[in-house]
Symmetry: C2
Subunit: 215 residues, 2 copies
């Protein structure tokens, strides 16, 4: 599958790109600075997990079937407005957590209650938005050999898109679980400050595992 990672030159993008390239996907990393993205792509390709290409955010998004947004909440609205046209017709995975520094260990709901709901509002009904991967340590993800213990809770209003993304997160080495409709992103996003509080209190990289499911 052709997967683009918008804002893909950071730590989160590294892990996602390497793990999906290893699974056989055609992965592109995007950046505002296309040249920087191409350099990062060459570096990632050189690690031997599979070929990764790079380019401007709109360019990589337009060429992909699935686009993952790896951008800070502060740049969320602006980036989505810029990419609105390039994203039409695609499955978009939003992993954004609306934390507002410095109080990152306290839930602070955004105006639209969740970043994912705000994204769907900006992008319109032509985009199948799926939210997930809010609780995965980017440090653990970035090391392609690190076994991931957390589950990836995935929500969205389009059940088929949700299933596609659950399959894709499985190929990252995570158990993907169906978390229901897009507005359930309120729960998923707001759990991250709680995990950040626990990281501080108990030390570590807190993640979430769902127990008690039937087989």
């Amino acid at each position: 599958m052709k997967i683009a990672i918008v804002g893909g030159t950071g730590k989160e993008g590294r892990g996602l790109a390497l793990r999906w390239a290893r699974a056989g996907h055609e992965v592109s990393v995007g950046s505002r600075d296309a040249e920087r993205a191409r350099e990062k792509a060459a570096e990632l390709s050189g690690l031997g997990f599979g070929k990764v290409t790079g380019g401007g955010n709109a360019e990589v998004a337009a060429a992909a079937e699935v686009v993952l947004l790896s951008i800070p909440y502060g740049a969320h609205t602006e980036t989505l407005k810029e990419l609105r046209d390039a994203l039409q017709g695609k499955i978009v995975i939003d992993i954004t957590v609306p934390v507002v520094p410095p109080k990152v260990t306290q839930v602070q709901l955004p105006a639209g209650q969740s970043a994912a709901l705000e994204a769907q509002e900006i992008l319109g009904p032509g985009v199948r938005l799926v939210a997930g991967l809010h609780h995965i340590s980017s440090a653990h993800l970035a090391d392609p050999e690190h076994a991931l213990e957390s589950d990836a809770l995935v929500c969205g209003d389009d059940a088929a898109a949700r299933e596609t993304v659950i399959g894709l997160v499985g190929q990252l080495g995570l158990r993907g679980l169906d978390a229901g409709v897009l507005r359930n992103a309120i729960a998923l996003e707001s759990l991250t400050p709680v995990l950040l509080h626990m990281n501080k209190k108990y030390k570590g990289h807190a993640g979430v595992k769902i127990v008690g499911l039937g087989s």
Copy 2:
């Protein structure tokens, strides 16, 4: 410790009362109908886990050091207003999840963003409110021999009250974890509809376990 369970004649109250009585606490179950509470208390005492007493909600609340609210969200505001005086000076544990039937598998934030924040607003600063136990299956809890796999995430603005409650949930047979300030109840409460969605989708009694914490 003297623990009162307001609305304690239901399934949730049964498990809490039996498990805390077994741990040596003086447990009272309350109801709007004092006679019904006394009958339920006699029944629970007869099971041999320890003595449980019963009475009207205000009566058991006033006599306790820690009061747990086990009431449906529909009766939350009214009950808190009635018990406001009886609860002053106490640690109050609010386990309420603001689900609004029939859409119980979708996050629906209440007007005050969380039931616990609404409770603190009604009860005022003289009550140390702690929220928790939103993700524990009442069926599993009700059987005192059932080993509980889920963690209990506990939040509140008073750190000492939070620690007391973390200790108390430990005596129920759960690992209690510090989930930070009271407004983090937004995350804890809203995760329950997600778990209810998973129960439906995957069958089972979904619970949450936090992984990756330091020792």
